[in-house]
């Protein structure tokens, strides 16, 4: 269930007594453990008492801003004192390990080929990863090292840091050199949960359509030398 909402609660099943008509269920208590029939409950301050919500009996967190798993039992007592523990019940509130799973977008771009000299602006776009819980939202995306845990990027600056988060489009610092940039993207979600993407690469190679020219001092196109000297030859310009 989402966090931060008073509507987040656990709807209990309907409990009945074998003699429900004459000796109906009359008490619903929350316990952190199953203490066995006729034994008192272990109180849970983090959960409310069983409360009526329309036709249902519900339990909700006393602080609904927490991202947390609540595991509890109910002790149900009928008129006359018959009682039993039920559970365990798990109430997941918010975003935390166990309540949500993240995955790379199916369109995640694992290899972006570029040419040396290509424009650098907004070259890599990451389709946003997905979450199994709609209330777990992306807070930021960061380029990180290509290692198992996605440590903070330690190489030379290759991709320009985003101006504002959450962002999913990056520019390159330059496309001057032939190189392959390996990186991962660490996405931080609600409650500081993180998802590490698969490895992405940006491969920069040379195209075959660059203009070639001479540079520097261009030697005379006509050069004259003596014969019989193995050291002489035509001095080519610098290309």
């Amino acid at each position: 269930m989402t966090h931060g909402s008073a509507l987040s609660n656990y709807v209990l099943p309907t409990y009945t007594s074998a003699q429900q008509t004459g000796c109906p269920v009359s008490s619903w208590e929350v316990s952190s453990s199953n203490n066995g029939q006729n034994n008192a409950i272990t109180a849970m301050a983090s959960l409310s008492a069983v409360t009526d919500s329309g036709a249902n009996k519900v339990v909700f967190p006393t602080n609904n801003a927490l991202h947390q798993l609540y595991t509890f039992f109910t002790k149900i007592t009928a008129d006359g004192g018959s009682n039993a523990y039920f559970g365990a019940y798990n109430l997941y509130v918010g975003c935390f390990t166990g309540s949500v799973e993240y995955a790379d977008n199916a369109a995640f771009d694992v290899d972006l080929p570029l040419w040396v000299g290509d424009p650098t602006a907004n070259v890599y776009t990451m389709p946003l990863p997905t979450s199994t819980r709609s209330w777990c939202s992306i807070q930021s995306n960061a380029i990180v090292n290509n290692d198992a845990t996605g440590t903070t990027w330690t190489g030379a600056a290759k991709l320009v840091a985003c101006a504002s988060q959450p962002c999913n489009v990056w520019s390159l610092v330059d496309t001057i050199n032939v190189e392959t940039i390996y990186f991962k993207i660490k996405t931080t979600w609600t409650n500081s949960m993180t998802h590490l993407s698969q490895v992405a690469t940006i491969t920069i190679t040379c195209n075959n359509n660059y203009a070639l020219s001479t540079s520097g001092v261009v030697p005379n196109a006509y050069q004259v030398y003596t014969h019989g000297d193995a050291s002489v030859g035509y001095d080519l310009p610098t290309y």
Binding site: T175, N177, C206, L212, T214, Y225, G233, Y234
Partner: protein, 148 residues
């Protein structure tokens, strides 16, 4: 920086971008000598003028022909100019009948615009446009009087 020049090839003609060169057996492939790329003749003993192009290719395949370039080796009609001696060239020797005949005419050596183009011989020839072999009086002969 990222896509440097990787190959330089000598071609007899400019065959156009992306087209193969026309090999020139009389010239070697360019070699790097003291940070300068040179094209040397295969036989440096020849007096010859070579005209060629260079196909330059960069990493990735970009390429272009440059030239034509002209390499004049030795003494060729296009590489050297010869001139009569600036002073001392004798155009007229007055001789009296009965004078001694020995060493009557001294030829001031002509000059060359290339130091490596040296005089091998001098011969007397006809006074015509092309200097045909001497065919006149035996008073002078083509090599008469020369030391060698």
């Amino acid at each position: 920086m990222g896509c440097p020049i990787t190959t330089r090839e000598v071609s007899a003609s400019d065959n156009g971008e992306n087209n193969a060169i026309t090999a020139v057996s009389a010239l070697q492939a360019p070699t790097l000598v003291s940070s300068t790329w040179k094209v040397k003749p295969s036989n440096n003993a020849l007096h010859y003028k070579y005209t060629f192009y260079v196909k330059v290719t960069a990493l990735g395949g970009s390429n272009k022909y440059f030239g034509p370039y002209e390499l004049d080796i030795g003494c060729t009609t296009t590489s050297v100019v010869y001139t009569d001696a600036a002073s001392g060239f004798v155009t007229n020797v007055p001789v009296y009948v009965g004078d001694s005949v020995v060493n009557k005419y001294t030829f001031a050596q002509p000059t060359s615009s290339r130091a490596w183009c040296v005089i091998v011989s001098n011969v007397i020839v006809n006074n015509d446009a092309t200097g045909t072999a001497w065919s006149g009086s035996s008073q002078v002969a083509s090599t008469q009087g020369c030391a060698s």
